[in-house]
Amino acid sequence: MNTPILSAHNLVKHFSAGGFGAKRKVVRAVDDVSFELARGETLGVVGESGCGKSTTARLLVQLLTPNSGSVRFDGKVVGPELPLKAFRRQVQMVFQDSFASLNPRMTMIDSIAFGPTVHGASAAEARRKAQDLLDRVGLDPARFGGRYAHELSGGQRQRVNIARALAFDPQVIVLDEAVSALDKSVEAQVLNLLMDLRRERGLTYVFISHDLNVVRHISDRVMVMYLGEVAEIGPASSLYTAPRHPYTKALLAAMPSLDPDRRTHEAPLAGDPPNPIDPPSGCRFHTRCAQAFGPCATQVPSQFAVAKGHLAACHLNRSEETVA
């Protein structure tokens, strides 16, 4: 198999939640997360709020330093083997809040041109590139180039944010809920833009969203996270049609459907996820799982390979081959 373009190896990120010494409390935002991204594929990441999706994204682009674990780009460990600045050119991020991600005092051209100038482009070159990119994401540079963030609509701003990420000529873009805040018609346009760009430039995406329909539409593979851990990861088609983790099943059952016969009659999942400061023992999902049995409360489930490239961390699959 080819070297994965980007891979996460046992990433752990704990945030301090106050307290000293023995009483020190930590939020286990991301706990032992590993996955690989093949060149040109799109990995969707889904899960409830607070499950560590955004933290994973920030660890992946090195905006946060993991407590342990590493990120590799093209097989090289970022930091010791690949300088951070070189890595930054290759992996970019688009954030959820299109307004907060643009400097309110910078024009759109300047915002996009900032990145290339950091990496040594002249001001004129960077501006020319910014104009080309504005044009590419569907905004007339003559009309929008000199505007400020508040003078644009949400969809237009998110296009600028995408252009800013593209200005580095990156290979990977991490999209953290990048279309979630947009209204549906605009969301569809931006999604189409993202898919066109992926084809044109051979981009690899990590697409984080809570919208399962959108994730299915855009992703080749999907990763389901629960309380900082990977519950299930696999090809979008098999994960959506044959989920092997009860949590994935519950999420899919919660998807709104237009078909009245497939109407959901009762909430597939009750209550909020448990507190990540003190996660449940064994399988973290067993407190809310309808199918929990013997080992769930005590043993941490391994990643069982349930199909080719499809892993599920659930004891129901223990007959399958263990991967990790």
């Binding site: 920030r58 682009v61 090195q62 905006l63 951070l84 600045k85 930054r88 050119r89 970019q92 991020m93 954030f95 959820q96 809040d97 907060a100 991600s101 643009l102 400097n103 309110p104 005092r105 910078m106 024009t107 915002s111 900032f114 990145g115 950091v118 990496h119 003559a142 009309r143 929008f144 180039g145 000199g146 505007r147 400020y148 508040h150 944010n161 800013r164 580095f168």
Partner: protein, 295 residues
Amino acid sequence: MAVTAENIVPLATVDKSQGYWRAVWSRFLRDKVAVCAGLVAAGLVLMAIFAPWIAPADPLQGTMLKRLSPIGTEGYPLGADELGRDMLSRLIYGARLSLFMGVVPVLIAFAIGSAIGIAAGYLGGWVNTITMRTLDVLYAFPSVLLAIAISGALGAGILNGLLSLTVVFIPPIARVAESVTTSVRKLEYIEAAQASGASSLRIVRDHVLGNVLGPIFVYATSLISVSMILAAGLSFLGLGVSPPNAEWGLMLNTLRNAIYVQPWLAALPGVMIFMTSISFNMLSDGLRSAMDVKQ
């Protein structure tokens, strides 16, 4: 009026990017209160610069017979002080030292305090904790007491007064700078800049400064009046400006005994201090809203 091609504003000109400062200037001009305040402040500054040409009399030359003449006395349009010196001339000359003692310590403290506060706010973590707790030690002193203590230790004189006032204003300005920077640092455009691989210094210069200096500056200008009053207090104790120099705070202090005899006369330096501080405050307020792109 008929709608013709001429009076429809063409799209191209609307969307053409105006320079940032030109836009600020045009927004500022629309704010009438700020423009008035600006004119008053400019007038005060001009008055200070051209004092020798404007003042009708020598501010230091007194006539004993005219002591505490009321406002409107012939030859003394604003009366005479307790030593028979022309009030109008003293008020005009007083602008020099008063503005100097009001503005300069605040400007120096603005530069130093902003640098400390922005650095602490941007770096966060233990750097922030150590810096801000250290400043809190200074902040805990009542400002008058701190200024007196420093001035007292250094001795009398304008420069020592300046220094002590500067030290007094650094902690509050740094505190405001720190809190504004901390809130800006959490925004995603700073994260985006970090993800671009730019150095911290560059991020602060290109993305943080423009978004934090406005609020810090407005806060700093509100300290100008405090600085003038504190300087007056120092002068009163013989630590700052010393008589017979004309300085509004000092005049306010020396005339306080005359408040039962000539209350209006005694109030005049206070009126000047009030006018200066309110015009500077309104001016800075107008500048802040003019610099706000979201208008």
